[in-house]
Symmetry: C2
């Protein structure tokens, strides 16, 4: 059985009151409604129907739909970041630390696909106070990952990976980190627990692709360095250019 | 100036009628409305307001909101696949073919971020006939990519990459291909034309990460093969297990 995180947290701190359990339960239902109908399409009435809790009851716990989305997102990010910090404390090896990061994220993404869908889809919905607070949490999470990648680049002297690298044979840290987030965050669209490998295997494969990818040892067994793309536009014969 | 694809297409085939232009224009507006409010949250009335076309006028072109979403998705996928086939015809080199695939996809993703957002978010909305037809197109696209990856694995004898590979030091083709789609499809969430490298550079970096990643030459310069993750649950000291 899965124990909802907020319950587990509350239990751990001795705050497992009836209120907390109810609160956590409603967040789970709300995640389901938002994942199903989208934030814009979902209503407090839908949530009331699914959860069996009266509208008045819902408003007792939450003032608004906006607050609900804020709490879901905040809960998800803080859970992921808290677990990550605990796990990172166990290793100082740069490769291992990146593997820990990936494992921690994939673990959550695979266990909570609906929450990940809501996070991805409603990423830019919240404005003002809530939006600013969440943006800061996301920036913190992004920076942790950039720090880990910088740590690897420094430890292994990866000259082609860096903040300013781009284009010819270089990989920009931002592209690498966002690429990694893409690999992990896309999981909710395709991962099927019954047919796909478990979270540990997926995390290991994603880590392998990422680590080999940013290390860039493509010349080591006699293969040529990656060629600059020579894609030509079939219509004009000219090299493809960025459309704007 | 960007010429909408359907217009360009129509112009190329001499079908650039007033009807076609209007049709293509409405699809662009609809993409904007869906990207902004989500499919569930958007209404034909919103589209009417944004486009300045009367509701009656909209229904003259499209019977329903569902039909609009179907046409946006179908148009996007067929444009991407048609361009891809043309471009793939220019090369038989397995690495180059994968670079072509990535470049073609990234090119579109960067130029049409709103369309990519709608595709990602409303992926599972359409049911029955429309849904079945789109699922078939997406399967075709996925299979092209799997074919390219299989082609590379065969040509270079990449024994650890394959349909059944998993877990220990192996990479499953499905994980690799979905990871690649993740890197490319996540672009709409972060890519900023003004500060990030152009589509060609992004495509080149994503290709590099992917190609090095699946080739897996991590033992070639004396680094050890990727260790099996030894993540422990900080609470219990036990190895992390898949939550279910």
């Amino acid at each position: 059985m899965v124990i909802p995180d907020s319950q587990a947290q509350a239990a751990a701190t001795g705050q497992d009151t009836r209120f907390d359990r109810r609160f956590s339960e409603i967040l789970d239902y709300a995640t389901e409604v938002f994942a199903e109908k989208g934030y814009e399409g979902a209503s407090m009435r839908d949530l009331s129907r699914l959860s069996g809790i009266s509208l008045a009851g819902l408003y007792y716990y939450f003032d608004s739909k906006e607050k609900l989305l804020y709490l879901i997102q905040k809960h998800t990010f803080t859970t992921i970041i808290d677990r990550l910090r605990e796990r990172l404390a166990t290793s100082s090896d740069p490769e291992e630390r990146i593997r820990i990061f990936v494992h921690n994220h994939v673990d959550y993404a695979v266990a909570k696909q609906k929450a990940m869908k809501v996070l991805s889809h409603e990423d830019d919905v919240l404005k003002n106070g809530y939006g600013t607070e969440l943006a800061a949490i996301k920036r913190e999470y992004y920076k942790i990952c950039v720090g880990l990648v910088d740590g690897l680049a420094q430890a292994e002297n990866l000259s082609r990976l860096g903040r300013r690298a781009s284009g010819k044979n270089g990989i920009a840290t931002r592209t690498a980190v966002m690429g990694l987030f893409g690999m992990m965050n896309w999981l909710y669209t395709w991962y099927k627990p019954r047919i796909d490998p478990d979270a540990e295997a997926i995390a290991s494969q994603v880590s392998d692709i990422f680590l080999r990818g940013v290390r860039g040892e493509e010349t080591s067994n006699g293969r040529s360095a990656p060629r600059k793309s020579t894609l030509a536009d079939p219509a004009t014969g000219k090299r493809a250019r960025k459309r704007s």
